[in-house]
Amino acid sequence: MSPTPKPPVKTGWSIGIVTPRIGLNIAVIATLAVVPAYAALTGNAFALTLFTRVVILAIAALSLNLIMGFGGMVSFGHAAYLGIGGYAVGILAKEGVGSGFVQWPIAIGAAALYALVVGALSLRTRGVYFIMITLAFAQMIYYVAIGLDRYGGDDGLTIYHRSGFGGLIDLGNRTVFYYLCFGLLLVGIYLVWRIVNSRFGMVIQGARSNERRMRAIGFPTFRYRLVCFVIAGAMCGLAGALLANHTDFISPAMMHWTRSGDLIVMVVLGGMQAMFGPLIGTLTFLVLEEGLSRLTEYSNLILGPLLLVVAISIHGGIDGLIMGRRGG
């Protein structure tokens, strides 16, 4: 409804309205929407399990894309938020607090608080140092989890009851749970889209593009980047709470550094700065991983180099591929 005569051509850093991308996005959404029906019709319960995992990890990748893709903050410790969110649910469940109304806010809050601490320290550094500090913090959390003997230590902890929502939603119903995760993912994508195009998002992207210049024109960039980091952490904490409910289990493996690496690969594979990139990347990654592991026990020998080729040859991931942006 804006009276601007001609809206600026949305190129580069905004979400272009272009057909192949929208087509792919709609296809992915439609596919995900019918997964439970497909699983029920074919009796393939595993499909539902796999795609629930896709949707949950896509939320984690989405949050990583917010800071890494749009904000230029390459966090190599993003799995820590998954772990913190998951452990919040697991620990509370073990201590007899089964309500999701308590568990989930605590999961989100704990992840946000952790992000605040890590961000406050790491965002003063750049490049490799930033990567190493985020990794170091994640490793610290990983070893803390191993040390939690009461909560299973290295072996992890089984969650006997999924988060309860007072009869409102039954997470025990796998279809309901799937649609809840799927819905949260869509809400998350919408939120990120709003954030990225807001004034706040302009600042975040400006700081990615040229932080020195941002300060020179009057932006205290640190506090904006920190808030962005916390938002991403909170979002990933929620993904962790979902993941713990999905697997009915928590263990330090949730936040192993290779998981952080996987999340980065998912984001890069799907296309950084693309709204649906994290989802498409996660989907591709997990389906490939699953498919290859059925074909051969050496699946990682194929998957690794394959992803490397994609990362090197296609600028902008799958999104870049369909949008015709080639590496160079």
Partner: protein
């Protein structure tokens, strides 16, 4: 005499054994276009750095509008109305020309913890930004990515960004560097149009431009100001001729 907008008092900076600023004192009345000239390595960049806050002085004081800003951070100085352009263009290459200026407007219109509304649909941001682009003659290039702008256009955009924040003072760090003769002439005209409305400190190698534009000129050599005065006085100052202009004078 008009109100003093910028007052520099005994500014000193050493880098190891090199004295880049050796007790620089300078007063700029509001509305003046003051040029700083000097040979390479005279400390011009250090002076700009100290004024913008990127370089911390070892000693001395900087007052802007009677407020001591010596220890005020970079972003805050910009918000106070002290804008700069960069010698080497440092824009947002993956943004459009308009978005670059929009950011500059946004920086001076309250905090940016606004998470919901589409910033590009905000007239309060885009209109001043378009006006600033028009002022430097880039209105037609608003939707072009910075990466696709010519060198001269980027220099113009630098100034549009500085203007967009409605600054009270502009620090222009060699705005004509690398410009063709025609582009330089256009820029000189633009700066002439700004004269009086905005206080400008112009650091520039193009001596012709400096003498054509400046109300007063200061000559910086080895971190010291050896002379300050109007163009005629500077042109005839024997110390300046010896230290900087050389026998031929007025030759960049």
């Amino acid at each position: 005499m008009a109100d003093v907008l910028l007052e520099i008092d005994g500014l000193t900076k050493r880098f190891g054994g090199v004295v880049a600023a050796d007790g620089i004192s300078l007063m700029l009345p509001a509305g003046e276009l003051h040029a700083i000239i000097g040979p390479n390595g005279a400390g011009k960049s250090t002076l700009i750095g100290q004024l913008t806050g990127e370089v911390t002085p070892d000693g001395g004081r900087i007052c802007f509008d009677r407020q001591d800003i010596t220890n005020v951070p970079v972003y805050r100085r910009s918000q106070l109305g002290l804008a700069r352009s960069f010698q080497v263009t440092t824009l947002f290459p993956d943004f459009t020309a308009l978005d670059n200026v929009v950011l500059s407007v946004q920086a001076h219109s309250g905090h940016s913890f606004r998470f919901w509304r589409d910033a590009r649909s905000e007239i309060t941001l885009s209109e001043p930004a378009r006006a600033a682009l028009a002022r430097v003659g880039l209105a037609e290039r608003a939707a072009t990515l910075v990466a696709d702008l010519s060198h001269g256009e980027r220099r113009q955009l630098e100034i549009a960004m500085a203007l967009a924040g409605r600054p009270r003072m502009l620090l222009l760090d060699e705005p004509m560097a690398g410009m063709g003769p025609e582009e330089s002439i256009r820029l000189v005209e633009m700066l002439r149009a700004l004269k009086g409305a905005i206080t400008v400190m112009l650091i520039e190698h193009d001596i012709d431009a400096v003498f054509a534009l400046a109300d007063r000129i200061s000559v910086l050599v080895y971190g010291r100001i050896i002379a300050t005065g109007d163009p005629a006085a500077i042109r005839s100052d024997p110390a300046v001729r010896e230290a900087y202009l050389g026998e031929g004078a007025a030759d960049g």
